[in-house]
């Protein structure tokens, strides 16, 4: 557990250093994810404690967004100014994006299989 946590933190650290050094516009942990993936892929095996720790952490991923989410409390006034445009844009744009992404991906999968495009 502690060993696995150290591995995750070490990859995050390397990721943070890598983006500061290269200026790539991506957060350090995302690079850390990529590097850990490459390491696992290269090793061709996943240590059991790492798997357990990762899966435990990920099963509560939504908890980890709460502190940042509560930050909304500071920007009530900012949101209130144009709340209608912002609310409608957020809801519609998010739904449209989910639908379009899914339909495009689904269509390409079917198109490659050569199947007809019905439901």
């Amino acid at each position: 557990m502690i060993g696995a946590l150290a591995v995750l933190l070490a990859f995050q650290l390397v990721g943070e250093i890598a983006i500061r050094w290269s200026g790539v516009p991506v957060p350090g942990p995302v690079i850390g994810m990529l590097l850990l993936f490459l390491a696992l892929h290269w090793r061709k095996s996943l240590p059991a404690p790492l798997r357990t720790t990762a899966e435990t952490l990920l099963s509560h991923l939504s908890l980890l967004f709460i502190p940042a989410g509560v930050g909304i409390v500071r920007y009530g006034a900012l949101l209130a100014e144009e709340w209608l445009a912002v609310t409608v844009a957020l809801v519609l744009s998010t739904l449209i994006t989910v639908a379009v992404t899914a339909l495009v991906m689904q269509t390409v999968i079917r198109w490659r299989r050569g199947a007809p495009h019905d439901g």
């Binding site: 946590l5 995750l8 990859f11 995050q12 516009p25 991506v26 957060p27 350090g28 942990p29 995302v30 850390g32 994810m33 990529l34 850990l36 696992l40 892929h41 996943l46 952490l57 990920l58 099963s59 991923l61 939504s62 980890l64 967004f65 709460i66 502190p67 940042a68 989410g69 509560v70 930050g71 909304i72 409390v73 500071r74 920007y75 900012l78 144009e82 209608l84 912002v86 409608v88 844009a89 957020l90 519609l92 744009s93 998010t94 739904l95 449209i96 994006t97 989910v98 639908a99 379009v100 992404t101 899914a102 339909l103 495009v104 991906m105 689904q106 390409v108 999968i109 490659r112 439901g119």
Partner: protein, 242 residues
Amino acid sequence: MDRIFIDIWVYLAASPLLWLTLTLAVYLAGQWLFRRSGGRAIFNPVALAIALLVLLLLLTGTPYSTYFTGAQFIHFLLGPATVALAVPLYLHWERVRQLALPILAGLLVGSLTAILSAIGIAELLGGSPRTLLSLAPKSVTTPVAMGIAEKIGGLPSLTAVLVILTGVIGAVAAPALLDWLRIRDNAVKGLAIGVAAHGIGTARALQISSLAGAFAGLAIGLNALLTALLVPLIVRLLHLTP
């Protein structure tokens, strides 16, 4: 007697312990309610927990910075948890490799849709240029979105809030929408949720299945890169200035 309560409150309100404990308690309560409701999307535990904590802060007059001294211990785990997304990606790599082309197609069209639809709808409803610029990167993970907003003349702090709201909307509504569209492939579900609703969506995708979580996690990374490239370009083409 009142004196004691006030003393205790003064101590607790300033210590990290109270808000750390409350964040966990509220999350657990949200999860309990979500399960009790039979998994109704409207009882999303994150949305409930955020709403309840915001209410508590407002009622007690506690500044966010005080709240965050406690909650930061949870917030910090976002980093290693993001790295941990490599595990489902590794476990499902074969599927990802097979679907490379559909993934890239969905990602490219989805990323463009997220940016253009947000700008377009807000513009139609009379949003100010600053709001449009703050909305443009709303579908990517917070640090990247804030960086993009800053670069193009939006308000990074407003963007941070819009990103969180986008994630919550995606987490609440996406699974039902995908069912309605008769999307059954968990790989497709995961990618769509990850492209539209970044990490908060990914948390929801992981509840669908580990495969959906793997694709959502992949989408966070790829969409962060693509959006960072596309938004400045689109802003220039549309002549948007703050």
